[in-house]
């Protein structure tokens, strides 16, 4: 399978671009990734690339991935098949199930419906990037505590959507929680436990309705 290659000539890369900005600009730039993306696009603009493979530089979980990809390769494909980041899953490849959800400058998107070439200059966060120094995020721990997973295939996608929800809205209502996860499908039926995990991570206690009774 394709191995990530060293950064090559051709398109202006983020690193080259930032280098050119000078030291003081870097800290400001680091905080304004959208602006960088735009500037980067301008630097590369109007240049026709492809259809063969071209250098594509992706920032994933804070690290640089230098890949050689055809323009038609999706971000999901790049993660799963051109790098070792298989945490994001392919459930449908048609922007309908959410198993491929990643954060794109903090906002959840379907990585299967985003071209890798268009993900350059943006901050991509995958499920592999949530735990810090081996410590699970609040959301990840809540999923474990409330058994918000079964086969686990939809789980990375749900975890990303819930992470984004709580980043934006730390104390959601039930409606808001459902609304935020409406783009994630699950066949095993973890939905009730996902709701429990959301409230657990948000620090909102919810009564446990399950009853265990004796026969008779």
């Amino acid at each position: 399978m394709k191995k990530p290659e060293k950064e090559t000539f051709g398109a202006v890369s983020r690193r080259t671009f930032i280098k050119g900005l000078g030291a003081t600009a870097i800290t400001t730039v680091a905080a304004q990734t959208a602006a960088v993306a735009q500037e980067l696009e301008k630097a590369n603009a109007e240049k026709v690339v492809g259809p063969g493979a071209v250098p594509v530089s992706l920032t994933v979980n804070g690290e640089k991935l230098q890949l050689q990809l055809e323009p038609r390769v999706t971000l999901l494909d790049a993660l799963r098949n051109y790098s070792s980041l298989t945490g994001s899953k392919e459930g449908c490849d048609r922007a309908a199930c959410g198993a491929c959800t990643v954060l794109f400058d903090g906002a959840p998107i379907y990585s299967c419906q985003k071209l890798a070439i268009e993900a350059q200059g943006h901050e991509i966060t995958t499920v592999e990037g949530l735990a810090k120094n081996g410590t699970l995020s609040k959301v990840q721990q809540a999923f474990i505590d409330k058994d918000a997973l079964q086969c686990g295939y939809c789980t990375p996608g749900f975890v990303m959507s819930v992470t984004a929800l709580l980043n934006k809205n730390p104390r959601p209502t039930l409606e808001e929680a459902k609304h935020a996860c409406s783009g994630n499908l699950c066949r095993c039926g973890t939905h009730p436990h996902v709701i429990k995990a959301i409230f657990e991570a948000a620090g909102i206690s919810v009564a446990d309705k399950t009853k265990v009774i004796k026969y008779g």
Binding site: E46, V48, G50, P71, F104, K114, L115, I117, E118, G183
Partner: protein
């Protein structure tokens, strides 16, 4: 997908030039990538229009507001100002697709999206809209299809924003051959009414740049019904806009989506409602007029009572 070249345009002119005869613009890319993956379109180049300047803002104005074509659906949903001035737009936006799609999808893309008819979308049925001989839906499963049409194709417009913009009497500004061409929602979809091959009235090279929305109607509402409670195409949708002055409707407009290739509006119904007190009875009569000439097919007749209910409810929602 087939292969394609890719370039980012910095001006509408260069976008047009880069696209050439066989290219496509890519904004959010949600509809386009779906079409590419099923080989329904095969542009030789994708021209990224997300860097075109000045198209991604919401401009507030006295007589009208302007939505740049690159404004994301998520921005419409989150905007407190939109919620307060055009609540119908906010309601429509919040029900479009899913959060993940709303975060990349644009106003322009939502208007320009292609048919969702399952025969059109299927890789192995060459239907009328794809240049084939047969409208499969007419012969076979038409549960999601039109109650009204001016041609053989019965694929309805599904853009929630189109329906809402129609009720607000908004105008899309389309850059065509370098000239800004205003189009009402009716004009924007009129070609689909007449021509089975068309999804809308856009021609190759056309670029939607913005939508101008008059502030003339201070109230607006949107509702839809789907099989599921979220992330499901509307079976029928409805938008209404008006003022209520002295308890009476002023400048009312109603539009219904997913039942016609264009947002379905009946001028006689709007005229009937103008100056009337908004209640169950007037709303119901308006609904009757809007649906009067509906032609149900074998599987979609349920859309008539469904649309009737939605029209009544959307109008009554204007009361607040």
């Amino acid at each position: 997908m087939n292969t394609f070249q890719y370039a980012t345009a910095l001006s509408p002119d260069s976008a047009r030039q880069l696209a050439g005869d066989h290219g496509a613009y890519i904004a959010g890319g949600n509809d386009l990538l779906g079409l590419l993956k099923d080989y329904l379109v095969s542009p030789d180049i994708l021209v990224n229009i997300k860097s075109l300047p000045g198209l991604d803002t919401i401009q507030q104005g006295q007589d009208k507001w302007t939505l740049g074509a690159l404004v994301k659906i998520a921005e419409l949903e989150d905007s407190i100002d939109i919620q307060s001035v055009f609540p119908g737009i906010r309601d429509a936006a919040s029900e479009i697709a899913s959060p993940q799609i709303r975060n990349v999808a644009t106003v322009g893309g939502n208007l320009a999206q292609h048919s969702r008819c399952w025969y059109f979308r299927h890789r192995d049925t060459v239907c009328l809209k794809k240049g084939g001989d047969l409208c499969y839906a007419r012969e076979s499963d038409n549960r999601y299809h039109c109650l009204f049409t001016g041609n053989t194709c019965i694929s309805p417009v599904v853009s929630s924003l189109a329906t809402t913009f129609a009720a607000l009497d908004a105008t899309a500004i389309v850059l065509r051959d370098g000239k800004e061409t205003p189009m009402s929602m009716d004009a924007l979809y009129h070609r689909a009414w007449e021509n089975p091959l068309a999804h809308n009235s856009l021609e190759p090279g056309d670029l939607i740049v913005r939508v101008d929305i008059p502030t003339a109607r201070s109230r607006s509402a949107y509702m839809q019904v789907s099989d599921k409670h979220a992330f499901d195409w509307a079976l029928v949708s409805c938008a209404a806009a008006a003022n209520i002055v002295g308890g009476k409707l002023d400048k009312p407009r109603v539009a219904v989506g997913s039942i016609s290739p264009v947002p379905h509006q009946v001028e006689a119904a709007n005229e009937f409602l103008d100056g009337k007190t908004l209640d169950d009875d007037t709303a119901s009569q308006a609904a009757d007029m809007i649906l009067k000439d509906a032609k149900p097919l074998q599987q979609n007749a349920y859309k008539v009572p469904m649309a009737h209910a939605l029209i009544r409810r959307t109008l009554l929602k204007l009361k607040g």
